[in-house]
């Protein structure tokens, strides 16, 4: 651990220096450069991507961007992105409503009932596997079971995103339930509470902060997804607040389509949509961090 290093006295360091051969020092130095360099290398694309998105996207962000429908002629500037912003929020929101209760219940089964049993082990393993299923496969899946029958609409997109979120919510919630000390459960039982009451009134509230943080990370992940929406929501240019009827729009899909256009006006729209989407996603990511940091502080206190 680093604290070992930090505890080292100067005298110890001098001794180490004196007894360490030159080639060992050089190798140690090269390794340190590799480790620090890796971090620097990883930060370069982050800085570039965020920088480009902000600089190129900020120009179109004004009131009309948030209020007007999407420009139909890709050569021309103008129009807004309201249908896509609303679509992304509604579709992601509906996916959250489907995935979060199911995910939390699943996690309750894993941690409070299933324990080390075989069923729980299988569900746990398969949730891990499901987090690795490509989002495009989720899209194709919903296309085959839902879109072929009910047509292109927002609900199909929400279903696909919910499939993506479900395993993430299950696994992160289970980790949080594990952290709830058993003394709390025992205390609740001692008061005569049954297990389901203990879980709903003691365990869940105790883990609430951590669960919220995990859910927000899942929302951030889902909001940025494109592939599951390509097959399921269609392409609307006007605001459609009804997820059950008619094609919808999403920011990610707008970025995807506009980025392939040769026209600068469309490319500008792609950058501005990217800025909007990144802002939404970062908001959720940072909020999740803040919540989990607060939870961690409370635990350590």
């Amino acid at each position: 651990m680093t604290d070992v290093l930090e505890r080292q006295d100067d005298s110890e360091r001098l001794l180490l220096d004196a007894t360490t051969s030159r080639s060992r020092k050089v190798r140690n130095c090269v390794a340190s450069i590799w480790m620090v360099g890796s971090l620097v290398v990883a930060m370069v694309p982050l800085a570039f991507v965020i920088g480009y998105v902000v600089v190129k996207g900020i120009g179109l962000i004004n009131v009309t961007w948030f209020t007007e429908d999407i420009q139909a002629r890709s050569r021309e500037a103008g129009g807004g992105m309201a249908p896509a912003i609303v679509g992304t929020l509604l579709i992601t929101g509906a996916a959250t409503l489907m995935a979060v209760p199911l995910g939390i219940l699943g996690a309750i089964y894993l941690n409070e009932y299933g324990g080390k049993g075989r069923t729980a082990g299988l569900i746990r393993f398969m949730s891990d596997v499901m987090t690795g299923v490509p989002s495009i496969v989720m899209g194709l899946f919903v296309y085959t079971v839902f879109t072929l029958t009910f047509g292109l609409n927002g609900l199909g997109g929400a279903l696909a995103l919910a499939c993506l979120m479900l395993p993430i919510v299950i696994r992160s919630t289970e980790e949080m339930l594990k952290l709830v000390p058993d003394e709390l459960r025992d205390g609740s039982y001692a008061l005569g509470n049954r297990k389901w009451r203990t879980v709903t009134t003691v365990v869940l509230p105790a883990a609430f902060g951590g669960i919220v943080s995990g859910v927000m990370l899942a929302i951030a992940r889902a909001a940025g997804e494109t592939a599951p929406l390509v097959f399921t929501i269609g392409a609307a240019r006007a605001l459609n607040p009804n997820l059950l009827d008619g094609a919808n729009a999403a920011l990610s899909l707008q970025i995807f389509n506009n980025s392939q256009s040769p026209f600068p006006a469309s490319q500008d729209r792609a950058w501005a949509a990217a800025l909007t989407l990144v802002a939404i996603v970062f908001l959720f990511t940072i909020a999740a961090r803040v919540v989990s940091a607060r939870v961690a502080r409370r635990h350590s206190a």
């Binding site: 299933g114 569900i123 296309y143």
Partner: protein, 336 residues
């Protein structure tokens, strides 16, 4: 625990922690409660949805893809002949592209990810640690399509010159001349691999960090106590311990890279060909599905869904083996 009621067989299912649960057992032993049973049932059903969804994915996509599988037979995955207009669907070039691009991504991402993980756990000053996590969080949070947008409009046009310079330098060399061959637009296997590397770095880093964090500090201190430098300590105490877990992390990264769709679809160049030239445009399974689905119908659409089935199968295999490695590793930690 003197009460005779604890002798009654436990009506409640086993608890997560075998040493705990006496309270629940005491209550459950008295009467079987309907509310408890119902709640357990609902929770179980919620957990089982995962299995149901996975099974449904396999069944429903395979059923839609069946006409194509039946029509093409094994040539679907063994020939490189993708002419939708004439009903020929040989997807080998896409499979080749997916594997090539993912392997390229791993070649770039693994040394960097392990380096960052080691830095964060072994070398970073305490106050930098959280900022490393922060950077990784933000990298992971940027949506695939935004990387793709940056890749197609900024990275590919600018990296083209670099490819040409490298290709020119190696021109005429035996092997390297083929690998670093001519480029057309900057959109290529290499560009897709580089963008993917950025995208999988956060997941490989965070999993490797978790694994490295389990190395007992006694091992580290023993190495330091024998006069090891930090690098010698890492080689002697950290890496041998965490090798298995890091392999698992890398395989999960591989699974993620293979399924990544949008960014690859934008920067790979959409040209189904099998070539060793990394600077040439290619195509990948996920990318071709998303790029061609809009114009597809009938057997064509069925073949694209079939590609999804193949992709699903490959990623499941990669993920199951990766999880197997990681969980074996977890058990070792638990047993130690």
């Amino acid at each position: 625990m003197a009460s005779p009621s604890t002798e009654v067989p436990d009506a409640s299912p086993p608890n997560a922690d075998p040493t705990y649960g006496s309270g629940a057992e005491l209550i459950a032993a008295g009467r079987v409660n309907r509310g408890d049973q119902a709640f357990r049932g609902v929770a179980l059903v919620a957990g089982l949805t995962v299995l149901v969804i996975l099974a449904m994915i396999a069944v429903s996509t395979t059923r839609e893809a069946w006409p194509a599988f039946q029509d093409q037979g094994l040539s679907f995955i063994t020939t490189n002949d993708w002419v939708p207009a004439e009903g020929r669907f040989g997807a080998l070039a896409f499979i080749y592209g997916t594997i090539l691009v993912s392997v390229l991504a791993l070649i770039f991402a693994v040394p960097i990810s392990v380096g960052i993980a080691l830095y964060a756990n072994e070398a970073a000053p305490q106050r930098f640690k959280s900022s490393v996590v922060y950077v990784m969080d933000l990298l992971a949070a940027i949506p695939s399509v935004v990387y793709g947008l940056w890749g197609i409009l900024v990275f590919a046009p600018n990296v083209k010159g670099v490819y040409e310079a490298v290709g020119g330098f190696f021109e005429g060399w035996p092997v390297l001349g083929t690998i670093f061959g001519p480029t057309s637009s900057g959109r290529s296997f290499m560009t897709a691999g580089l963008i993917l590397a950025v995208m999988i770095t956060p997941i490989v880093t965070s999993l490797s960090r978790e694994v490295i964090a389990t190395v007992p500090s006694a091992q580290r201190e023993a190495a330091y106590g024998m006069g090891a430098t930090r690098w010698e300590m890492i080689r002697a105490a950290v890496l041998p311990w965490s090798r298995g877990g890091i392999v698992g992390a890398v395989m999960l990264g591989l699974g993620r890279a293979m399924g990544e769709t949008i960014a690859v679809a934008l920067v790979i160049g959409s040209n189904p060909q099998i070539t060793a030239d990394l600077f040439a445009p290619g195509d990948a399974m996920a990318a071709v599905i998303v790029n061609q689905f809009g114009e597809a119908s009938g057997l064509f659409r069925s073949a694209l869904i079939g590609l999804g089935v193949v992709l699903f199968g490959i990623t499941i295999i990669v993920n199951v083996s990766a999880r197997g490695i990681v969980s074996r590793f977890d058990r070792r930690i638990a047993g130690s």
